[in-house]
């Protein structure tokens, strides 16, 4: 019951978007680590009006047992949208869409984790979308990755994610709801920042091969920027003495997080 009206244009004559952003400009992003006290690790993200919480529990014993993996921990991701997070009320039971997104998020995160350090265990990642305004699966990855670090799960690096889209024929980074709805396509992606390799990639809409390549390059650039924001968010929680400035940060952080950032060589 939130009637939406199609805007006259998605790109203004001046080349700006409905919310005044440039094509390659992300929405305002706020990342917070350690926001939920019961969880072993947690984080929140506000990206424009999108608002998501992620909690990590584990490594812990896995039930039911038959899901146990002998050589590594099972990464179980549960992505859920609140009934009131979308224009129409979502039904409370998990939809097929939510199940599919849970799976692609798990695949996006796994390459960054040393799951083989906890054979037979489970690492649970619970993601709750409080308000959805475009880009939820990518925002969820940004937050989940921070929650995993906060839980002390050993990792090669954080995983940043962003959606690139197309509206009025132009490629745009980090689509909002309106741009998603009235645009011509959407390319959500996540990367490993050290190598630029892609761990999540989906697309819908209409793109030529050249447009897709360009969109992915824009996405990789935005992901690298997002990765800096993720590291800043971790610093705010894990650096013991912020007065000392950032020079000592990396050592401190690595000491805190174990292997989590060691392999990063940017």
């Amino acid at each position: 019951m939130s009637p939406e009206i199609k805007p006259d244009f998605l790109i203004s004559p001046e080349g700006l978007r409905v919310d005044g952003r440039r094509p390659d400009e992300l929405r305002p992003i706020e990342l917070k680590v350690g926001v939920l006290k019961q969880a072993d690790g947690s984080a929140s993200i506000r990206q424009g009006k999108t608002y998501i919480l992620a909690a990590v529990y584990g490594p812990r014993e896995l039930h039911p047992r038959h899901l146990t993996l002998n050589d590594r921990a099972y990464l179980r991701v549960e992505y859920r949208m609140a009934t009131f997070s979308v224009p129409d009320r979502k039904r409370p039971a998990p939809s097929r869409r939510e199940k599919e997104i849970s799976m692609v998020i798990a695949n996006a995160l796994k390459p960054a984790l040393f799951l083989e350090e906890y054979p037979k265990a489970v690492v649970d990642v619970f993601i709750q979308v409080i308000q959805a305004d475009g880009g939820t699966r990518c925002a969820a990855i940004n937050a989940a990755s921070l929650a995993l670090a906060d839980a002390g799960i050993p990792m090669k690096s954080l995983v940043p994610a962003v959606a690139v889209g197309k509206a009025d024929g132009q490629l745009l980074v980090d689509l909002g709801d309106e741009e998603d709805k009235y645009g011509q396509g959407d390319v959500p992606m996540a990367i490993l920042p050290q190598t630029g390799e892609i761990t999540l990639l989906q697309q819908d809409g209409f793109f030529t091969r050249e447009e897709l390549i360009e969109a992915m390059q824009m996405g990789i650039n935005s992901c690298k920027y997002l990765h800096e924001l993720q590291k800043d968010a971790l610093k705010r929680v894990y650096v013991r003495n912020p007065e000392d400035g950032e020079d000592d940060f990396d050592d401190d952080l690595e000491a805190d997080l174990g292997e989590s950032e060691i392999m990063e060589d940017e």
Partner: protein
Amino acid sequence: MGDYSSETLSHIDRKFIEDLIRKGERLDGRAFDEYRNIEIEANVVPAKAEGSALVRLGDTSVVAGVKVLVGEPYPDSPDEGVTMVTAEMSPIASPLFELGPPKEDAIELARIVDRGVRESETVDTKSLCIEEGKKVYMVFADVYPLEYDGNLIDASSIAVNAALLTTKYPEMKVEDKKVVATGNIVKLPIKNIAIEHTVSKIGNRLIIDANLREEFVQDCRLTMAVDQNDNFTALQKGGGSGPISLELVDQAMGMALDNAKEIKDLINAAVKDVE
């Protein structure tokens, strides 16, 4: 809410808490009739929900959101809208909650909070009729716990009421047999506010707003909805099977009445700024 005691609390802890209570003290130094710190943030889902609130009760927190839809009335009340409260115990909030379909505890939570809204006639459902027998507003208030450190019921009750008080939605009318927006944004018609207060019995003592470790050792709890006229509008004994005497029930009612006004004032203050 449930009976997790055997798994999670050692016998030594249990005895320690019970002894403390017997001496008149609580783990966190609160008085027996004292709530934890309450923070209410109204309208936290402004772009998508018609009303919403996030409530912190000590280290317990929940978020509630309201959606207003248009639907058909029940056959036996053709001129009344519908309200429904749901709650789930999402595993994000506690290592004690599990994935999967709702268990008894989650069903009880949802039903208690729902009863607090429906039995208290919080929403004026007669005003939610668009066309008699055909179209009415349906008001869904859904609660998601985010952190579970005890007393989800009271936190949920506060959050649902705050969310309902902030609810605004586009007015609809029937024109040529179609439902269309009038262009006005209207407030949800509220008739009565009743907040639920939960008192736990431990031994022969009563404490209000138990935290998780206190819940583990409670014999039972008593949840009481108190409305703006100090009426009791819903009551539920739960949280264990310990029996309770009439005298203690009376004493619990007194504790609820003593806290009722202050919490309602907090809610009103929190929702005042939302326009």
